[in-house]
Amino acid sequence: MIKTNMYALIVSATVGSLCLATPALAQVDAEEVFKENDCHKCHHATKAKKGPSLAKIAAKYKDKKLDEKEAMKHMTGGKKVKLDDGTEEDHKIIDTKDVAVQTAVAKWMLNR
């Protein structure tokens, strides 16, 4: 089963308000930011879509002892990613420059 908290309805913080000052991490709704940025359309909790599943990414990071800093590079760098069919594409760039929000999203991803 997919973790139920993945789908919990949280409407608290909007991305706009997050961009002010430096909000406490606890207030960042990382899942909402992730979905508002369309990340979920390529990264499913457990299923391989166009991008690897969150479970797979988390397992890889654990295995290779990588942390959220590495994940943040992927969501901000717009680096080329290799697809299954051998072609390459620029990776999506998250729409916030707020490091606190990026960190929250990365941690959320790696905790799946």
Binding site: K35, H40, K50, T87
Partner: protein, 440 residues
């Protein structure tokens, strides 16, 4: 996720109050016993076949072009809700008129149920109308300007409505598009296969002259571009590349077309009908005669019918009556032949269509419908005969599984201004997303 949805217990016998036989037939179905499936519909804006295959559909153009299912990516439990809200946010290129339709709901949660007996399939839909105070059964009219009868009113995205030159008025509709597996890609991409740049109110809409100069459009005598399936074009990315009629006729004979059924709050509801059409090179109506007909005499440029003063209490309406009075003209019920000398005043309005259950005939008259709008909830039951053998119909058969897409035109919308669902499967007594149960 729970598929069984909470039921709003409107029984069909209540709906059928006023209909003839209440004890038997579709009116007697106890819908409380029929499983209900929740289907989400979202406002798609101008997400055409072409847009979906362009770089604007970031990271998905190639996948869509190769035929991947929309829901292989768009599968979040709240996906339709998110997508509709995003498109209407005012910041999304898919809806250039977002400001003009501010407040429009981005998605609709619809409940779908299905049943069948030896004769018919019964498809029941329920959704909350965005306007809780009106059933959406008004329709544009012909307004007398002192000299001539001219079209009056239009849907929200109509150019004259956007320019503030005419009133906002259009009927609600519930629509079903159905494929029996013969249209390549429909199972994966559903209604979006038929939505193209160049169609009415879409990007790159051609002029009437351009359409009329096109070979296929000339051959089918049309002056606008409407829904079509990709196979009818040599280049599916371009509406103007229609194949020769013989090839299109071959596709039809092979069953390569989509069924399209529409319940209309103004033009079919009062006479118990739902139109029967099909999408091939155009959005066509089936052969025969529809439940509604134009109320304009093309030669005299005068309406054909007016209201019967004795029955309707008036011979015409005015703009101020929209939203307040029911302005539906029905042959044999409240209509009499138009009298040009009845003392018409500037501002008098007559309906653009005249309805008749008796006049409806042939394949176009196959579908029936029952409906009720109560407490802001619209209920519609389509009644579709099983095993239709007409050349323009998809036959529904026990054991059959079909791909279906649903759309709702709500709150004064037509054309692209609807909410649309991703594809679902419908099984007639067979396991599917929506399974029609056998009645006994």
């Amino acid at each position: 996720m729970k598929k069984r949805a909470l039921m709003i217990g409107i029984s069909l016998s209540a709906i059928a109050a006023g209909c003839a036989s209440v004890a038997t037939g579709p009116q007697a179905i106890n819908w409380d016993k029929v499983p209900a499936t929740k289907v989400a519909l979202f406002y798609p804006g101008q997400s055409s076949y072409q847009w979906l295959r362009s770089e604007a559909h970031a990271g998905a153009a190639k996948e869509t072009a190769r035929g991947d299912a929309c829901t292989s990516c768009h599968d979040d439990p709240k996906e339709e809700q998110r997508q509709g809200a995003k498109i209407l946010s005012g910041k999304h290129p898919l809806e250039p008129h977002a400001a003009a339709i501010k407040g429009k709901n981005g998605h609709i949660d619809m409940t779908v149920q299905a049943a069948y007996d030896d004769k018919n399939a019964y498809l029941r839909f329920q959704y909350k109308t965005h306007n809780p105070n009106h059933p959406g059964n008004d329709y544009p009219g012909y307004r007398f300007d002192g000299k001539e009868w001219k079209a009056f009113g239009g849907m929200r995205l109509n150019k004259n409505v956007l320019a503030g030159k005419t009133a906002t008025v259009y009927e609600n509709r519930v629509n079903i598009m159905l494929d029996d597996g013969k249209v390549p890609g429909f199972a994966q991409q559903g209604c979006w296969l038929t939505c193209h740049d160049g169609e009415r109110d879409m990007q790159k809409e051609p002029t009437k002259d351009q359409v009329e100069a096109n070979a296929l459009m000339k051959a089918i005598k049309k002056s606008d571009v409407r829904k079509f399936i990709p196979g009818t074009r040599t280049n599916p990315m371009d509406w103007s590349t229609g194949k020769p009629l013989e090839e299109i006729a071959k596709m039809k004979a092979n069953g390569e077309f989509l069924e399209l059924m529409q319940w209309r709050a103004h033009r079919s509801d009062k006479v118990g009908g739902a139109d029967d059409g099909f999408v091939l090179e155009y959005r066509n109506f089936d052969a025969g005669k529809n439940h509604f007909n134009s109320n304009m005499d093309s030669k005299t440029k005068l309406p054909k019918f007016m209201f019967d003063q004795a029955k309707a209490g008036t011979k015409a309406y005015t703009a101020g009556d929209y939203g307040k009075k029911e302005m539906i003209l029905i042959k044999g019920a409240n209509a009499v032949p138009f009298d040009p000398n009845a003392g018409w005043k500037e501002g008098d309005i007559l309906p653009q269509y005249i309805l008749s259950a008796e006049d409806a005939a042939g394949s176009a008259a196959d579908n029936k419908a029952l409906s009720e709008w109560k407490n802001g909830v619209q209920t519609v039951v389509f009644i579709r005969p099983l095993g239709l053998a007409n050349a323009d119909d998809k036959a529904l058969k026990p054991g059959g599984v079909y791909n279906v897409g649903f759309a709702v035109h709500d709150d004064n919308m037509t054309g692209r201004g609807h909410h649309v669902s991703y594809t679902k499967t419908l099984g007639i007594g067979a396991k599917a997303d929506i399974t029609a149960v056998k009645l006994n």
